[in-house]
Symmetry: C2
Subunit: 300 residues, 2 copies
């Protein structure tokens, strides 16, 4: 059996880690990005730059790690799109957070071209992407899983296999994003509420992780508020985008999602205040502003 050859489209904070871990696993790996500096950096580590769409003809697996549905469609089916070049039986691994209906549509269009499609959103942030320990919420045909396996092994600590067609992978990711986006806002709400009652962020971080009110994001993000360091692990604008996707899916399904709606408005306001590129723990600053409070390290 010959070595799997892989092309990664999108070398941002998540995609770069995916591509680097494919290289590390010994796979021949191409990298593509609109930002030439990222491609140069990848080439410096031994990766191959995608020089034109023809390169995709050589790939057994094309992984798309782009921001949203529009970019996914563009890199797969746009003017320089990969699918038209891909070999029959090659596999697209689509990692962006998208609506399940969009994933089903992409899978159908790939099938028309003789290409397999794995609906494979990822979770874990850039730290886990860099260490090759992402979680993948995947669904698709058994042949798509089989073809993508060497790449999944390189990029992920765990792969949830959620069914034999596109859709459930993206649905599970949307569920996860709903929870994270709401839990982050709840963390900001609770921390700053506590400050109005004389509980400091330091006390919050000491006590709440030991109590029933804890969550994964609280334990991982609340310390950023204490240190006043908003270097983005994942950014405010991710939640503007992802709770927007969740809201759209929910409304289409006539599903009432009041916490998602309330949280989304907090992300909109945080982004509107200019915090879109900051770490998502910066949601606490929105709440603090509303309450006339100052947070640690706050220079405003």
């Amino acid at each position: 059996m010959t070595q799997t050859r892989v092309a990664v489209i999108g070398l941002g904070s998540m995609g770069y880690g995916v591509a680097a871990n494919c290289l590390k696993a010994g796979l021949e790996t191409w990298g593509a990005d609109v930002n030439a500096a990222r491609v140069d950096r990848f080439a410096g580590e031994g990766g191959r730059p995608v020089t034109g769409p023809g390169d995709y003809a050589e790939a057994d697996v094309v992984v798309t790690v782009v921001v949203n549905a529009a970019q996914t469609e563009a890199v797969l089916f746009g003017e320089q799109g990969a699918v038209a070049q891909m070999k029959p039986g090659a596999v697209v691994v689509s990692c962006a957070t998208v609506a399940p209906d969009f994933a089903r549509a992409m899978a159908a269009r790939c099938a028309e071209a003789g290409v397999l499609y794995l609906d494979a959103p990822i979770s874990g942030g850039q730290v886990k992407a860099a260490s090759g320990e992402l979680s993948v919420m995947a669904s698709g045909a058994p042949e798509a899983f089989a073809g993508a396996r060497p790449v999944l092994d390189a990029m992920a600590a765990g792969v949830f296999e959620l069914g034999d067609e596109a859709g459930p992978g993206s649905a599970m990711k949307a569920i996860n994003q709903l929870l994270v986006g709401v839990h982050l806002a709840a963390m900001g709400e609770a921390m700053t509420f506590g400050m109005t009652q004389g509980v400091t962020p330091e006390q919050f971080v000491e006590v709440i992780p030991e109590c029933a009110g804890t969550s994964w994001v609280l334990e991982n993000r609340a310390p950023h508020v204490v240190s006043g360091d908003y270097t983005p692990l994942s950014a405010v604008d991710i939640w503007l985008k992802d709770l927007g996707i969740v809201s759209d899916i929910a409304r289409s399904a006539k599903f009432s999602a009041p916490l998602t709606a309330a949280a989304l408005q907090q992300w909109v306001a945080a982004s509107g205040m200019g915090m879109g590129g900051e770490d998502d723990a910066a949601i606490a600053k929105l709440y603090a502003t509303h309450a006339g409070l100052s947070l640690p390290g706050d220079k405003t």
Copy 2:
């Protein structure tokens, strides 16, 4: 040093466990409740029934484990109230979830009577109450902590010491309840949102606890939705009450809490539909009703 003698007022799902663990620790323990059957049960285990307010004169520590501020005030300062009978230097340990301002007022009134007051809300639910492994979020004078220590040791796995006056204990509890009440509603929202996208509650419970979207309450309550068993560990009406308290405190402090507000309305609706006495995981049934879905074990 003589053995600490303790009276527990309120032998409900939490208070019974507190009283039983005081007995188990070898403390002479009185129990009081408006429900005579609970007092009889406690007497059957070796506890002493409170036969009149005069009994409180013998107690070194009086623990109040009642539902709210009004009941706390009544059992401490009402017609048959404990404080008027208590010895100088005896300690009130107040466990109900109340506003920090109320805790400060109770401490001041106790001080006038020469009685110490420990602001000591509890967390952990009836399972931890029964096993003597509650978390206590406590603040008060060092003498109050010292006097209450044998009782705290009997009832709790951990005591957070949050300051030397009443207020911060109740504030931390309110923060925790904000988070739990929001996280529970988020769990219901996410599980049933997933069902509209073809993700079953079983898949949700298998995958999400391994992902960034997890929370303590999700891991502990979502399985109840899968099994369709809503025997209350903590009930829907607890969150109607506690998010109401949080909302009141927040509004007084001019603190905008939109997730708390959205979650509170879900608890109001769940209680309005008749689920007030069910396990709090029943919040998922409200969401399912809104989406025209049936949950496992749902007979409606």
